[in-house]
Symmetry: C2
Subunit: 630 residues, 2 copies
């Protein structure tokens, strides 16, 4: 059933997807074997776990701590869904017991407010992250139920959500507020989907529609209380834009403010558009998407260039050295575009999801899975490095939950269609019209151009298989059972539609040629004028000091340099590296003045570029994505 | 008398210099006719004048206010020296009366401390600007005496300085402190020179040598008092570098911290080197100069790239859009290099003085003399504009005092030598060996290459005339009475030395060819790699939106473009403009994505560049000094 303008595709559940490739599987394994246990250890050692015991002489919780616990449970639950591990299962159960203990008789559950300032319950919605933490707990509850079929945490979060529903809403005796950091909105929709209780859907809708109304809730709130971040916010020019409450969400058409908040808001808007057939919300999402993709995004899929408020600045303002590009924001971008794909199977959303996944998200975690970037600059002088953990540690568990649920992002379906969004070796098991269909993928994506797909099913049947032709690919080729399939004549929104009667062992072979491309920025991005970056397939490249020279900023890429790609299994865990001749300005031959009327001497060097996501995994040094071109 | 390594040249006093050119004279006239009266009005209207009445119900002074008054008196006094004006004379006398009133019986004179917080007298040397204000008052007193021969203010400041001398010094009962904002050190040397009382010289030397000693005075001070700027300084990484007290001044070799403070410190160091034949101080100055000129200065002579603390950052870190380059700092650079020239008649100092004067200083004031820049970026998106006045208004009176004393910067002399540092039409009257010599300059500098000099004197006499050959000039030519003079064989530190028996009406003709030059930065300045700027003679050029396009950042200057210079008497009050063909990236033809694998379309435009100092004098818009080159 479709309303005009809204397609409805549901992602294939995690349990139905296997990932067996050489690119993602090792990362998912490291995530399961190292990262998830390590993050528990960090939560334990920093007091985040014990804070749930609510002891006056125990750890003093920070407003965000519950959300870190929640994201860890969520990541762990996804992992359990695919790979049962009794130790992890037990650890999660133990933490759930603590959450049960920390839950108040009325359902309220927040270690910071309960222990540190119970009088502030629901008093500082703008800054306290109270509903944000609730949202993450709800996501954890849903993931735990989906991953383990246990209801222990789901019951807790339902009780909490039921309580929240008694506090907020349109009824005269309820608060008309919403959270300064969006998150609960998308979480309530997840809760609705798993419980089928439309109270949660309505509450989410209420939060979304109340946002930005006048008189402004935060104005009223601030008359009575000093916000947790009042001092921090003194320098922020527009506090309402910061949390996207500057106008009703349906009227918003430029991405503004804190970029993670923005992404989580847009996720909920897309979900509500789908659940409520709300074309207005879909249209708002489309405008915001255009603002993001067309004017406010790094080539890595990183977003939010301003460190001070972790957010968006003016259109086309994309500084490289100071790009904040928080890992969580790129993850939020993946979440949102994944949802947009459910409303509208348009390759542009999958392109963006892929761009962020392979670049701005993946850069956030080291190759060994042990260190993280909170912000992901596009140029570094050599002073930016990954860390094991952060005081505000939203990013590590966020990457972790994305990696452990990556299977959900590959395919989607409705009753007659299978959509393939990402090319990752493995398989997906679909149930269409009561028949199971297994779609097998074989490929060395993103390094190699060839993807082989095989259909496995008991009885021949009609359905359409839609394969994404990535936006970066100019000359894709396709055969079905060895016969050339005319892509151009079957292309719908960048998906090639193969609508036929499928038989067991039908074979599809897709070629996505991956020449090395010089990428250019929109001329309005002043920081990148006369600069070029390198991309091959979905992978954005960078140059690092360790492969080249210390004075990386003195490298100039001549217009006529040929760039060659070569797989190197010894480099950075196995990557395609790119090389070619470049010019290097000579620092040494310049004298001791700053300015001269003769250009610097140049020498020719062999330039080596490596995938951006893999930078800062060797000796520390400078890095650049955009290179001057001449 | 010279100590090895220290030459001693004194600048020609203001009264002995006439400026009659078309470049500076109109600016000096505007300064006298408009700026100085306007600044008095601002001082009056903002309460700065009335604050001196010390009324409890009057204006509440700011710690810097006295210095604004002082700089206004100083500027006015220089102006009176050259151009008597009874109204200004009376206004200054009236303000001096107020200063006399505000002076305490013990000699102390500071409106802020006296009225607002008398208990903090000498308690917060780091932040209160107490000795800084005293320094400016002393400079005013000296200028007033020199300009009017009246002793009214000189007596006041001598009384104040005498009192200060009883407070600070090596004796056991005295404070071992010094000011967080250097200024009094150079002022005391001026006072010494006019009074010949070497108590002032010794006090200056004491302040200079005490600076940066351990145990650190400011550490001790901060144990007892919260500094005025404590909150502001929280984000500053090194508070001692900020005020150049991180080590003894003789050991300093990198310019650090607040750039105005640094310049004023170095001024005093140069003065003391001269007065005390202190080679150690001279050597320290030379190292600091190399750090400034070789690694920490914009091409405009602007210095201090970081807005947060108005100061220097890392070597070679010279961002353009965010360049702070405070006007006062460029002025301080002129002050310091003027002093270095007195120690060592080396063209490199005059080059730097000239660079700052014609570019980074002059940009600080609008062509009509009514509006100011506090900071002078080298690129603007169109949101930076001059203002009439500032809350902290150090820059306007600082430009004013420099303009009204510009005559002092053109010539210097000893008993046998006349040095010409700047080419400005007019004349200088020198007394050498008891004979008056008038040196006449005729030129249209900085627009024209030709400078004619004529010597006027009663009796033929031997002396050496040293004419600076600017560093930017590659092929200077000289004739003396029509005969070619071999410059190269008579060049000493970039001054051509003409040592001869001079007769009345001897004529020297100097040609300083001024081709349009493309200027390049040291390859270590990462912000300017693959960029070029335009310079002609001493003038640094910029491109402005109003002459060109709004998307100035999309202009690329091809390597083979010929740049032509042409005097335009209708443009910006009469300037040489530079034009040539450039490429413009086409914004319109790009679609609604941010990144593409094809380079932007280009069109050819006629590019017009104007002197940097004259920017933002027409309709508001973007500006750039450094242009991508290809």
């Amino acid at each position: 059933m479709q309303v005009k303008g809204i397609e409805k595709y549901r992602p294939l559940p995690l349990q139905n997807v296997d990932i067996r490739d050489r690119f993602w599987k090792p990362k998912i394994d490291i995530n399961r074997e190292h990262t998830i246990p390590f993050q528990y250890k960090q939560c334990l050692e920093t007091g985040r776990v014990d804070a749930l015991k609510l002891k006056k002489d125990g750890p003093v919780p920070h407003p965000f701590w519950d959300s870190d616990i929640a994201k860890w449970i969520e990541a762990g639950s996804y992992s359990l869904a695919k790979h049962y591990d009794s130790v992890l299962d037990k650890l999660i159960d133990d933490v759930i017991d603590l959450l049960d203990f920390a839950q108040q008789p009325d359902g309220y559950l927040n270690s910071y407010i309960t222990l540190v300032c119970p009088e502030r319950r629901w008093k500082d919605l703008r800054d306290s992250h109270e509903l944000y933490c609730a949202g993450h707990l709800i996501e954890a509850g849903v993931a735990h139920f989906n991953g383990t079929k246990k209801k222990s945490l789901l019951d807790i979060v339902c009780k909490y959500a039921d309580y929240i529903d008694t506090i907020f809403g349109p009824e005269p005796d309820k608060l008309k507020g919403y959270c300064g950091h969006e998150e609960i909105e998308l979480a309530l929709i997840k809760l609705y989907r798993v419980t089928d209780n439309d109270k949660y859907l309505k509450l989410s809708q209420y939060f979304i529609d109340e946002r930005g109304k006048e008189p402004h809730y935060f104005d009223e709130e601030q008359k009575h209380i000093k916000g947790y971040f009042d001092d921090l916010f003194k320098t922020f020019p527009n506090l309402k834009e910061y949390n996207q409450s500057h106008k009703p969400v349906r009227e918003q058409d430029k991405v503004v403010g804190h970029s993670v908040r923005a992404m989580y808001l847009y996720c909920a808007m897309a979900d509500l558009a789908l659940e409520l057939d709300d074309l207005q919300l879909k249209t708002a999402c489309e405008k915001l998407w255009q603002s993001l993709n067309g004017r406010n995004m790094y080539i890595t899929g990183g977003i939010g260039s301003e460190e001070k408020y972790e957010g968006f600045t003016d259109d086309y303002d994309l500084p490289n050295e100071t790009s904040y590009a928080e890992t969580c924001a790129a993850i939020g971008l993946v979440f949102w575009n994944h949802r947009m794909l459910q409303l509208d199977c348009n390759g542009k959303y999958a392109d963006l999801m892929e761009r962020a996944l392979y670049n701005g998200v993946l850069s956030g975690i080291s190759l060994d899975g042990k260190k993280y970037f909170y912000h992901n600059p596009l140029a570094s002088l050599g002073d930016v490095h990954r860390k094991e953990w952060f005081g505000v540690s939203c990013c590590p568990p966020n990457i972790s939950r994305l990696l452990s649920s990556l299977g959900e992002y590959i395919y989607s379906k409705d009753h007659h269609t299978i959509n393939v969004h990402l090319y990752i070796e493995g398989s997906g098991t679909f149930n269409l019209q009561n028949q199971n269909i297994v779609l097998h993928q074989k490929s060395s994506y993103p390094w190699d151009e060839k993807i082989d797909l095989t259909v496995e099913l008991d009885q021949p049947m009609d359905f359409q298989l839609k394969l994404r032709i990535p936006g970066w690919c100019k000359d894709a080729k396709l055969t079905v059972n060895g016969e050339v399939f005319d892509i151009l004549n079957h292309l719908v929104k960048d998906y090639v539609v193969i609508d036929r009667n499928w038989s067991n062992h039908d074979k599809i072979s897709l070629i996505l040629p991956m020449p090395v491309e010089r990428m250019y920025s929109h001329p309005a991005v002043r920081q990148n004028v006369n600069h070029v970056s390198i991309q091959r397939g979905p992978i954005v490249y960078c140059i690092e000091g360790t492969d080249n020279v210390r004075n990386l900023h003195d490298v100039i890429l001549p217009l006529n340099t040929e760039l060659c790609a070569e797989y190197d299994d010894q480099l950075l865990g196995g990557i395609v590296k790119i090389s070619g001749k470049a010019k290097l300005l000579n620092n040494e031959s310049w004298n001791d003045t700053l300015y001269k009327s003769t250009a610097p001497d140049e020498e020719t060097i062999e330039l080596i570029a490596v995938p951006y996501f893999a930078w800062d995994n060797r000796e520390q040094g400078p890095m650049r994505v955009w290179i001057p071109e001449r």
